[in-house]
Symmetry: C2
Subunit: 205 residues, 2 copies
């Protein structure tokens, strides 16, 4: 059955992006530093149309996340930033359901990405994404507020944190405003590379 | 040569203790949850005078930290909380140097722990601890403010985070008020157990 997951890189102090974020600075100041392990992988480079790159643990992790993702759900802010920043061939190559209050016709892009705009809430978006995923998993892409919204609603099955050896100091904190009892989890898998530690947690139901 | 390190359990959202901490509640509300992996190890139980316990990855980690620690440096708050909470045979079994502004005679305890009160600053405490460690390593025990003070001064060689599958939501945040450029690090070792992920970082000089 289709699982619902999210997958983010975090700094040691829990930030997924730096300060001063905006459409022209989607990762925030110094926000690339938590993604250094990913940028150099062959699978990431291929996703954005570049040749070469490292093959190793980190690459296998990136490839597995890409291959399991049959559809995506994302928040409006992430879409609006991406609409400016992503290349014409958007890096999803699968259906993407965007949570918004503004109706808009579906927007197909080169390479298999179609953005569908969902105005009737997160559960509707998730149902549509599950149907579109054809047995693969649904990835909650982000941003942080959207991920927290799905976690608090008990709609996430598992998640992976790529813990990067960086102090961000300020920015977008993944678990900001989450409380001890919002959800419980157990550790499911740990993969260590030279640059980062990939930890997967199963959310307890 | 004697290394300077710290070693703390953190929640996924970066807290080393829960809210409402005080002398009678040293780990704060629900603060024990980030230490569950440790409480059940044979080495921890032995340290506080209890029999039995698990032997496995987590136990090996606890034992290694205890065995490498030739001396300790701690802040005044941690000492004052411990002075009430620790048993007569304090769990260090080694010299402990307490940073304080209030002079006091050394206080020897059963089992090899002697608390020495240092009023002339962190560097003095560290020098005394290094001399007392007789070639073993010096552990900066805590609390968080003391650890940050040593990190910012460039006096830490490496540190281990035991990343626990828990959201704390509030409390004492380890890297609070640290900035991106305060220190750089690289990942040195990752040990995964069923309950937690132990990640050791080397601080770049």
């Amino acid at each position: 059955m289709s699982k619902v997951f999210f997958d983010v890189a975090v700094s040691l102090d829990g930030y997924i992006a730096g300060p001063n974020r905006g459409p022209r600075n989607p990762l925030g100041d110094r926000g690339t530093s938590v993604h250094n392990w990913m940028f150099q992988t062959a699978s990431f480079r291929k996703m954005i149309g570049l040749p070469g790159g490292d093959t190793g643990e980190d690459d296998a992790v990136v490839r597995a996340v890409f291959e399991r993702s049959g559809a995506y759900v994302m928040g409006r802010h992430m879409f609006e930033e991406g609409e400016i920043g992503w290349p014409e061939e958007a890096p999803f190559h699968a259906p993407v359901f965007v949570l918004t209050h503004t109706p808009r016709e579906p927007w197909p892009r080169k390479g298999g990405t179609t953005f569908t705009f969902v105005t009737d809430g997160m559960k509707s978006a998730l149902e549509q994404a599950k149907a579109a995923a054809r047995g693969k998993d649904v990835r909650i892409s982000g941003g942080a507020a959207t991920i927290r919204q799905f976690l608090k609603a008990g709609l996430v099955d598992e998640f992976t944190l790529h813990v990067s050896p960086v102090i961000q100091g300020a920015g977008v904190s993944l678990f900001d405003h989450m409380a001890h009892d919002d959800f419980k989890m157990e550790q499911a898998q740990v993969i260590a590379s030279r640059l980062t530690t990939h930890i997967t947690y199963r959310v307890a139901r």
